[in-house]
Each structure stands twice: as C-alpha cells, then as structure tokens.
C-alpha cells in the first residue's frame, strides 16, 4: 500500500429507498493532490461526499484515514478527523465579520471572554498568508462571492484539515475569480493537503487536477491520471457511451429567411435593475443574451415576463401592445420563463413530477377549470417520455430527482403550455454534459417548429452552438447585438469586455 494515502474509502455502499446510490465504491486520496470527482448528475458524487462527511451514514464499507478506521456521524465529527467541506453555496454568516466567520465556534478567549484583538490579528495573518485580499474586520456580505468562498477555504485550512472537499466551488464565479481560487488550491496542495474537487467544468479539471475518479450510476468507473485521460474519453466514461455529437448540432437547423417579430420591447426598463432597452424576438429564432453574471441578463427577461414589473417602455406581443402586470399575464400572451435559480424559483420541491409539469398550464386555465386526473397523467407521461426524464414514477416528488432531471421537468412544464415565446435562463447550469447537449438540441428543434426562444447561458461555447443572434449586456444595460460573423468566441469576449465600437 502506498504510504502517502490520507484517505481511503473501500467498498462503500449506500441505499436510499428505491435507489442504490452507491454500490461498492472505492476512493483513494493522496497527500498533496487535487483529485477530481466526476460523473453525471445522479452518478453518486454528492452521496459519496455526504457519506464521507457524515451527513449520511452508509451500510457497508470502510473509511480509513492515516491507517485508522473512522466513522463520521456528523459534519462536526468529520471536521475533528480533519475533513473539511466547502459547498457551492457558501455556508458562512453574511452578517458577521470575516474574522468572526473564520473563528466562529472556536474563538480565542481571555478570561472566558472573546479576545477580539487576537482574533482579528490571527485572521489578518491567515488572510495574508493565503493571499486573500480581504480585511479581517469587513462584514462578510461586503465581500464578493469568490472571496467568501476563499474565506470558507481559509477557515477549513486553519482548522488543520488534511482533506479539503470543494463541492462545485466555481459554478458562480467568473474566470478571474476561478483563477484566484486555483492559485489558492495549488498552494494548499504544495502544503500537503489532499483536495477533492467536484465540478462540472471539464476545462477546470484539466487545469488543476492530478487525478480523476469517475462515477456512473452509483458505481465506480475508475481512477485515472489526468494525463492518461483525454477529455473525450473522460466524457465517454462519464456517460457510458462514445461521445461524438457534441461537435455540431446546428448543422440541420434551418436558416431563418423572414423575420416575424413575436415580442418587441421598446424602451423597457426598471429602476435599479435594468436600464431601458429595445429587444426583439422573432418567430423561429434563438436569440442569446450574454454578459457577465449580474450584468442584467436575467433582469432583462424578467422585465419582459413581468416577473419584475418594468416602470418604463412598452411591450408588443405579435404587434399588439400588451399590459403585463404579473407573470400570469405574460403566460396568457404565450410566454414561458424558465428561471435561473432552479431550486428557488423553479421547482415546487414536495410536489410530484406530475404536479410540477401541469402546474403552469393549470394556473393558466384558472382555479375553476381543474384538469382531470387523466389529462394530467397523459401530459406528465408525454413529457417524461419526450424529454426522457429519469424518475421512479410520475408521482415521485421532484426533489428526489437529480438536478438535470428536475430541469427537464421544468422545461416540460413550459412546453405543455404551448408557448410562442420561450425564455430559458441558464437552463444547463449544474447539469451534466449529456443532458446539456440534449437541451441544446431541443432548443434548436423548438425554434425550427416556429417558437421564438431567448437563451441565456454563462458558457459561451454553448451559446455559439445554439444562437443565431446575441444581445450583449454590461452593467445592467444592453450595449449591443452580434450576428453572423461577429458570433465567435473572441467577438463575444470583446463585446462583453467593451472598449471598441460595439455600442
């Protein structure tokens, strides 16, 4: 046995009612390595992490750290064994200072009282040591999300962790912030910390990781050195099939010949969130909106949809001026909106897949026109089949589905209302690559059938593959549009960054 192994999980199995979440999975983490844990949604990555950190208990298998068997009953337990976790959503207290967050639960004391001076001094040292640009006495909520993430990591590091788990830490960071995070990760690595890195971004895996463990459907596919596993092979290992259709899906997409506007926004704006903008969505066209996070992409579509009521301008639907006071008005005019935050704004967690699918149509029909049980079941079955939603049954609560499948349910919900104009805000975030391609194909198909689609995504590649025109957002303002030859990775980057004559 190699002697630099810090963590060794052997033959771990975990069953949820009706699902074998993990079956005889082995996982080995060595000192000073960054180890990517990869797999599609529902492959068992989260379960493995949760078993390791004591959130879930497991039925069989062993976890060994530095030669001794351990069983973690709770995250605190795990922490005391030197396993720290930083989650995608930072779970620190935004209303406390950076120093308080770093030392919460283990404050330095003097005569039983908290020794603020020492605490702030120690915090400042720690931050400086790790090159984190933040003041110990700043409120955490004043720091950017990336800094918060780093502070969470700093806390974990200071607690002498040997194993650091980063669960999708980069999904809400921009490129520069990701780069900073990587610098920090490399530093920790050189200090001998073993890092488990869970992510959906392939590029990032190849940038920082040393090894990759791939899971599929709760079973171990294998452990590989990064150098031995080219990207295409990794994807095929994750999906369990050869992967060839990522390349070109736009091929048989019809080129639009005449432009029939479905939605026209003229001077629509909302104080404090988006400056007045003009926007047109044509029949059969996929229009993208691009820009950095928080640049007003979501705010633009939310203003059109009536999710946040605009305070200026007018909206024309099929040439007629429309009054939109609430989402229901927009729905009645044939709009559909898939929100950015699936958990918060999309799913109704405790309701079944069936109820989640029919909900929008039912709301459109009104309270006194309840759909019959048969209609509901037929509608649910239709979209479960069409979108290949993986669910135990149509009566399963949506919360027990994996993220990608939840997203498909929400897409089904909107397709059922038969919209003329479909807004998709980050429909592929946090979703595995196979499902991503499926969704992209679906979008193009829907456009071919005459639907107007607005597509928002943080991944430029994905936008290039689906959109034929792209609006560019910067600082809450629509600054330009790109079409034809301008639609290249470089062109978009330039437009987002601003500077030359895109305005």
């Amino acid at each position: 046995m190699e002697n630099n192994v810090v963590l060794d999980m052997k033959d771990v199995s975990k069953t949820f009612p009706g699902v074998k979440a993990l079956q005889h999975v082995d996982f080995k983490l060595r000192k000073g390595e960054i180890h990517a844990l990869m797999g599609e949604n529902g492959a068992g990555k989260s379960t493995l992490i949760k078993v390791l950190t004591g959130v879930h208990d497991f039925e069989s298998g062993t976890i060994t750290m530095a030669g001794t068997n351990i069983v973690n009953k709770s995250p605190q337990d795990a922490q005391s064994h030197g396993i720290s976790t930083v989650y995608q959503e930072v779970n620190l207290c935004p209303n406390l200072t950076v120093a308080e967050n770093l030392f919460i639960g283990r404050e330095p004391r003097k005569f039983g009282f908290i020794d603020w001076r020492t605490m702030n001094k120690k915090s400042a040292e720690l931050l400086k040591n790790l090159d984190i640009d933040a003041n110990a006495t700043d409120k955490l909520e004043e720091c950017s999300l990336a800094k918060q993430q780093m502070i969470a990591i700093a806390r974990a590091v200071d607690m002498k962790c040997q194993v650091l788990i980063l669960d999708e830490p980069t999904s809400s960071l921009d490129d520069e912030e990701v780069e900073k995070l990587f610098v920090l990760m490399r530093r920790l690595k050189s200090e001998g910390v073993g890092i488990i890195f869970v992510t959906h971004f392939l590029e990032q895996v190849y940038e920082v990781c040393d090894r990759i463990t791939v899971l599929r459907n709760g079973t171990l596919v294998g452990e590989y050195e990064v150098a031995d596993l080219p990207r295409v092979k990794l994807v095929s290992k994750m999906m369990g099939k050869d992967f060839d259709d990522l390349a070109d899906i736009k091929g048989d997409h019809k080129k639009l010949e005449k432009f029939v506007p479905v939605i026209e926004a003229k001077g629509v704006g909302r104080k404090g969130s988006i400056k007045p903008f003009d926007f047109v969505a044509n029949k059969g066209e996929v229009v993208g909106l691009t820009g950095l996070l928080g640049s007003g992409r979501s705010e633009l579509v939310r203003a059109i949809y009536g999710a946040d009521k605009p305070d200026s301008g007018k909206i024309l639907v099929n040439g007629q001026e429309a009054k939109i006071n609430a989402p229901i008005d927009a729905m009645k005019l044939g709009m559909a909106y898939l929100p950015e935050d699936r958990k918060k704004d999309g799913i109704i967690a405790d309701l079944s897949v069936r109820e989640n699918i029919i909900l929008a149509l039912q709301a459109k029909k009104g309270m006194f026109h309840l759909m019959s049980h048969k209609e509901m079941e037929e509608a649910a079955d239709k979209y479960i089949e069409m979108l290949q939603i993986k669910t135990a049954s149509r009566e399963t609560p949506i919360k027990s589905l994996s993220g990608g499948n939840q997203q498909k349910v929400i897409i089904g919900r909107w397709l059922l209302t038969n919209p003329e104009y479909l807004i998709l805000d980050e429909p592929t975030r946090g979703i595995d690559i196979g499902t991503k391609t499926e969704i992209q194909k679906l979008v193009l198909n829907l456009a071919d059938q005459g639907m107007a689609v607005t597509f928002i995504s943080s991944e430029v590649e994905e936008m290039l593959r689906t959109c034929s025109r792209m609006g560019v957002m910067r600082d809450g303002k629509k600054v330009g549009e790109l079409t034809g030859d301008e639609l290249t990775q470089e062109g978009i980057m330039k437009a987002i960054a601003g500077g030359d004559g895109n305005e």
């Binding site: 009612p17 999710a307 405790d350």
Partner: protein, 353 residues
C-alpha cells in the same frame, strides 16, 4: 400496480393519525366497557361515543380552516377562538335586538347567522391582509385578534351575556325536530364535504400546496400567491364563524369570555396530529379531521376517568410530545435507516449463500 402504490401512499399518510385515534379509543374500551354503547334516551341518541362526536364538531370545523391556513402560509391562525366569540356576539346581538335576554327573535335567524359569519370572514380578511399582503408572520399577525377579538365581542354585546331563549336558535347546538342525532354532527360533516368538494373539483388544493411549498416559484408559474394565502385566511375566518354560531347555540347565548376558549390550540394540535407539517406545503384534510376527533376523544376519556379539568393539559401535553417525536424528521430518518440496514443485511446474507 400503479393504483396499489397510490393506495399505499394515501394509507401511509393517514396511518399515524388513525393509529392515534385507535389507541385512544382502545384505552376507553378497556376503562369503560360500555364506551361504544349507543342507546336511545328521551328520543335522542346517547352514549360516550356520541358525546365525543358531538362535542368535537366545532374543533373539526376549526381544524378544516386551520389546515388550509397552515398549508398555504406555513403558519397558524391563533385568533380562531376569539373570532368564534365575535361571530357569536354579532349573531346573538342581532337576534336579541340589543336586549339581555329574549324569548322571541328580533330579527330573522338566517340574517343573524349570515351576519355573524360575515363578521368572522371580515376578521379572517384582516388576518389575511396582514399575512399575505404585508408579509407579517402569521403568529404575530393573528395575535392581534387573539388579544382584541374577545374585547370586540364584549363591545358588541355591551359587556353582557346575551341570552337567546328561543328553540329555533337552539337547533344548531341541539337537535332538529325529532331527529335523534345532534345537529353539530351534521354541520361538521357538511363543512367537511363541501371543503372536500371544493378541493377536489377546483385547483385550489394544488394552488395552496404549491404556494405553501414555494411562493416565488408559484408566482412565476402564474399563481397569485398573495391572493391564495389571503383566501385561506378568509376561509379560516368563515369556519371560525360557523363554529362560533354552533358553540353559541349550544348555550343559547353569546358568552364572549368562554366561547371557543383555548380552542385555537386544539385546532393547531389537530392539524399536527393529522400528519400535517406545521411549516406548510402538502396537507391532508382528513388527517386533521381525524386529529380533531382524536383530541376530543382524549378529552372526553380523561373526563370519564375523573381527571380534573385543570389537570387536562398535562395529559394532552404528554400525547403531543409522543406525536411530535413520532413525526419528527430525526425519528423518521432513524426508522428509514434501520429499514435500509435490515434490507441490505438480508440482501448481503442472500448474496452470501
């Protein structure tokens, strides 16, 4: 196959409430063997079981409203007891025409009852406005009427207990003509049936659950979350009004200090007993109804066992503790884990053969 699984789920959701009810009834049968004996006395049915069902009526009606409020807003309406008193006061004051005690009605019965229920609906609307529109926590919002309600009732009756010594008014708490079954039982059943019909025939049930689980997402799929929450409070008010009229009819008077006293807590308990999560979301109306009957059975049992009225809360508290523990996520998780372990053990044992 699919129908079977569905049946399994519904039976599971009602499983615990029914077990509780049966447990209470079993204790009764052991302690008082003639508990289930029903006899005809003076032309009306009598016996413990009839008393339980009769006395539970107001609680059942309140529990129906409380269930909807809980589901939609994730909080409880603690003003229902006081609102009962308001409805009773309005109703009796109109019937008496302002006098303390009357032997003939000063206004048509139906008018007075409608006015009483309207008053309670108004109270519900007030609560609903505070909770749904102003986003005040339900407990705090309804605390206003919880404290003020009985005072309002006193103001209406000018501080006196108004007696309506008229047989036609006593019907609602007593008997209709020669019918041997007490009227409150019918009223409770009618309320349950109508509510069930509304929930089954309209999308209200689905809307309430959806809003209760995720208000923002519900708004984005076109539901008017504010209106739906508001509606549940109005319905809850109406239910309190109906219960208030029944309670007042039983004692043919409007006793502002005693009508519906402490009943709000029993109604909340009934909802919890019914397997409903007090944090809102999915709900089970029949569970609450069973819960309400269970509580009344428990109360009657304790009285039958000569427990004094002021000691009653202690026993109720014990029952509540047991139920809350049984339904807590920690306990459920523990059970599920035990089950999973057992399954995997047998599976591995079989694999080993």
């Amino acid at each position: 196959m699919n129908k079977d699984t569905l049946k399994n789920i519904t039976s599971k959701r009602l499983f615990l409430p029914i077990v509780c009810l049966i447990a209470v009834l079993l204790v009764n049968v052991i302690k008082t063997p003639d508990f289930f004996k029903i006899s005809l006395e003076n032309g009306v049915l009598s016996g413990y079981i009839i008393i339980v069902i009769n006395r539970a009526s107001e609680l059942v009606i309140l529990a129906v409203g409380m269930t909807l409020v809980t589901a939609a807003s994730g909080g409880q309406d603690i003003s229902v007891g006081a609102v009962m008193a308001v409805a009773a006061a309005v109703c009796c004051q109109i019937l008496s025409g302002g006098a303390t005690s009357v032997t003939s009605l000063a206004a048509p019965l139906i008018l007075a009852i409608i006015a009483g229920i309207l008053a309670s609906a108004l109270c519900g609307a007030f609560n609903g406005f505070l909770v749904a529109k102003l986003n005040i926590q339900p407990m705090v919002a309804t605390l206003i009427l919880f404290t003020a309600g009985r005072g309002i009732a006193q103001l209406i009756t000018k501080g006196q207990i108004t007696y309506i010594r008229v047989d036609s008014y006593k019907t609602f708490g007593g008997y209709i003509g020669k019918c041997p079954i007490p009227t409150p039982i019918f009223i409770a059943i009618i309320v349950i049936v109508i509510t069930q019909i509304i929930l089954k025939k309209t999308a209200l049930g689905l809307y309430i659950e959806s809003v209760g689980i995720n208000g923002t997402a519900s708004r984005l799929v076109g539901l008017n979350s504010t209106l739906i929450k508001f509606l549940t409070y109005v319905i809850c008010g109406i239910m309190a009004g109906i219960a208030g009229v029944v309670a007042s009819s039983r004692i043919y008077s409007a006793d502002a200090n005693n009508i519906g006293l402490n009943l709000e807590m029993d109604a909340i308990l009934a909802v919890a007993l019914g397997g409903n999560v007090l944090g809102g979301g999915k709900f089970n109306l029949m569970g609450s109804v069973i819960g309400a009957y269970t509580i009344q059975a428990l109360t009657t049992t304790l009285y039958a066992m000569n427990v004094k009225a002021d000691q009653l809360p202690v026993y109720k508290a014990i029952v509540v503790i047991i139920i809350v523990v049984l339904q807590s996520p920690v306990f459920k998780k523990f059970l599920a884990n035990q089950k999973a372990k057992k399954l995997s053990n047998t599976a591995s044992a079989e694999g080993g053969k």
